[in-house]
C-alpha cells in the first residue's frame, strides 16, 4: 500500500486506495442522496414558484391545528410531536452506526429497533394527519381552507401538501423497510461474519437524509 513515502502527507491519488477514503458503496449512497435532494428540491421550488404566482395562501396555523384525543385549537402541536419523533429516531440511528463501529452487535440491534419504532410512529402520525385533513374535505383537487385574509384559495395548497408530504412519507416507509432488513441481518450475525458493520452506515445515511428532508418540508409547509 502506497500510503506513506518520503512525504508526510497521505497520497490519496497515487492508486491502491480510495481517493476519498470512503468505500465505494458509501460514496454512491452520497451521490444517490444528492440526486434525491434535487428531486425534493424540484418539488419544493415548484411549490414556492406556485405560491409566489398566487394572490394569498392559507395560513398553516389555521389549517394544522388539531391533535388526536384533544379537543380545541392547538396550532403546530401535532407537527412538533412528529418533528421530535423524527429527530429522535435520527439520533438513535447515529447511535446504531456508532455501536457498529465498536462491533457491538446487541447495541446495534437495540438502536436499530428504536429507530424502526420511531419511523413507524412518524408514519402513524402522518396517517392520522392525512385522515384528519381528508375528513375536513382536503384532498388532491379539493381545498376547504380559505386564504389567510379570507379570500378564495386555490387547490394548489392541498395538491402540493399531499404530494410532497406523501413523497416524503414514502421515503420514510422505504427507510423503515431498509432498517428492518438491517436489523434482521444483524440478528442473523451477517455483519459479525463479514467483520464490519459498514452497511449500517449507508442505511444510516439514507435515514438521516429522510430527517433532513423533513426539516425542509415541515418548514416550508407548516411554518412559512
Amino acid at each position: 500500500m502506497a500510503t506513506t513515502t518520503a512525504t508526510t502527507a497521505t497520497k490519496y491519488w497515487s492508486g491502491g486506495r480510495s481517493p476519498f477514503n470512503v468505500e465505494y458503496g458509501k460514496l454512491m449512497m452520497w451521490y444517490f442522496l444528492m440526486s434525491d435532494a434535487f428531486t425534493f428540491g424540484a418539488f419544493l421550488i415548484s411549490y414556492g414558484t406556485t405560491r409566489f404566482a398566487t394572490n394569498g395562501w392559507p395560513n398553516p396555523n389555521h389549517v394544522f391545528n388539531a391533535f388526536p384525543g384533544i379537543q380545541g385549537n392547538l396550532p403546530l402541536l401535532f407537527l412538533s410531536l412528529m418533528t421530535f419523533i423524527l429527530i429522535l429516531s435520527s439520533v438513535t440511528m447515529v447511535l446504531a452506526v456508532h455501536e457498529g463501529h465498536n462491533m457491538n452487535k446487541s447495541g446495534v440491534a437495540k438502536y436499530l429497533a428504536l429507530t424502526i419504532l420511531g419511523g413507524l410512529a412518524f408514519l402513524g402520525c402522518q396517517a392520522w394527519e392525512w385522515t384528519h385533513l381528508h375528513h375536513e374535505g382536503a384532498w388532491w383537487g379539493s381545498n376547504p381552507f380559505p386564504n389567510a385574509d379570507g379570500s378564495t384559495s386555490t387547490t394548489n395548497f392541498t395538491n402540493f401538501f399531499f404530494t410532497i408530504t406523501g413523497f416524503h412519507g414514502f421515503h420514510v416507509f422505504s427507510g423503515v423497510i431498509i432498517n428492518i432488513i438491517m436489523l434482521i441481518m444483524t440478528l442473523k450475525n451477517k455483519f459479525e461474519q463479514r467483520g464490519h458493520y459498514l452497511i449500517i452506515e449507508k442505511a444510516g445515511l439514507y435515514w438521516h437524509f429522510v430527517d433532513l428532508v423533513w426539516v425542509f418540508v415541515f418548514t416550508c409547509f407548516y411554518l412559512l
Binding site: N21, A53, N59, H208
Partner: protein, 135 residues
C-alpha cells in the same frame, strides 16, 4: 481491493466525536426546533406583514442551521476528506440559482396575471364560501 478499502475505513473510525458529539448535536437540534416552532406559533398573533416576513427570514436561517448540523455531524460529512465534501456540496450550489430564478419568475407571473387578467384578480379577492355539505 476490498481489503484495502476496509482497512481505510477502520483507520477512519475514530475521527468522529463519538457519543459526546452526538448528544451535543441532539441538544442543538432540539433547541433550534423549539425556537423555530416558537416563531411559527408567534405568527398566529401577528398581523403586521413586515414583521411576518422578518420572522419567516429567521425561520429559514434556523432551517439551514439545522440542515448543516444534520449533514455535518449525523451524516459525518464534516469528517470526510475535503475533496469528497466538495463533490457533494458544490453541485448543490445550483439551488441558489434555482431558488432565485424560479421564485422571481413566479412573482413576475403573478404580477402579469393581476395586471392583464381581470377575472383572476376579481375571483381571487372574493371571500371564500364554506362548503359544509362536502365530506
Amino acid at each position: 481491493m476490498e481489503h484495502v478499502t476496509t482497512a481505510a475505513i477502520h483507520h477512519d473510525k475514530n475521527v468522529g466525536g463519538g457519543r459526546k458529539e452526538i448528544f451535543r448535536v441532539t441538544i442543538i437540534l432540539s433547541v433550534l426546533t423549539i425556537i423555530e416552532l416558537g416563531f411559527g406559533f408567534s405568527m398566529y398573533y401577528i398581523n403586521n406583514t413586515l414583521t411576518i416576513h422578518f420572522i419567516k427570514g429567521i425561520i429559514v436561517i434556523l432551517m439551514l442551521a439545522k440542515a448543516f448540523y444534520i449533514v455535518a455531524y449525523f451524516m459525518h460529512l464534516k469528517h470526510e476528506l475535503r475533496n469528497m465534501i466538495m463533490t457533494i456540496v458544490v453541485p448543490l450550489l445550483l439551488f441558489v440559482w434555482f431558488i432565485i430564478a424560479f421564485l422571481t419568475d413566479g412573482n413576475s407571473f403573478n404580477n402579469l396575471k393581476n395586471r392583464y387578467n381581470g377575472y383572476y384578480k376579481e375571483h381571487m379577492s372574493q371571500p371564500m364560501q364554506k362548503k359544509e355539505e362536502t365530506k
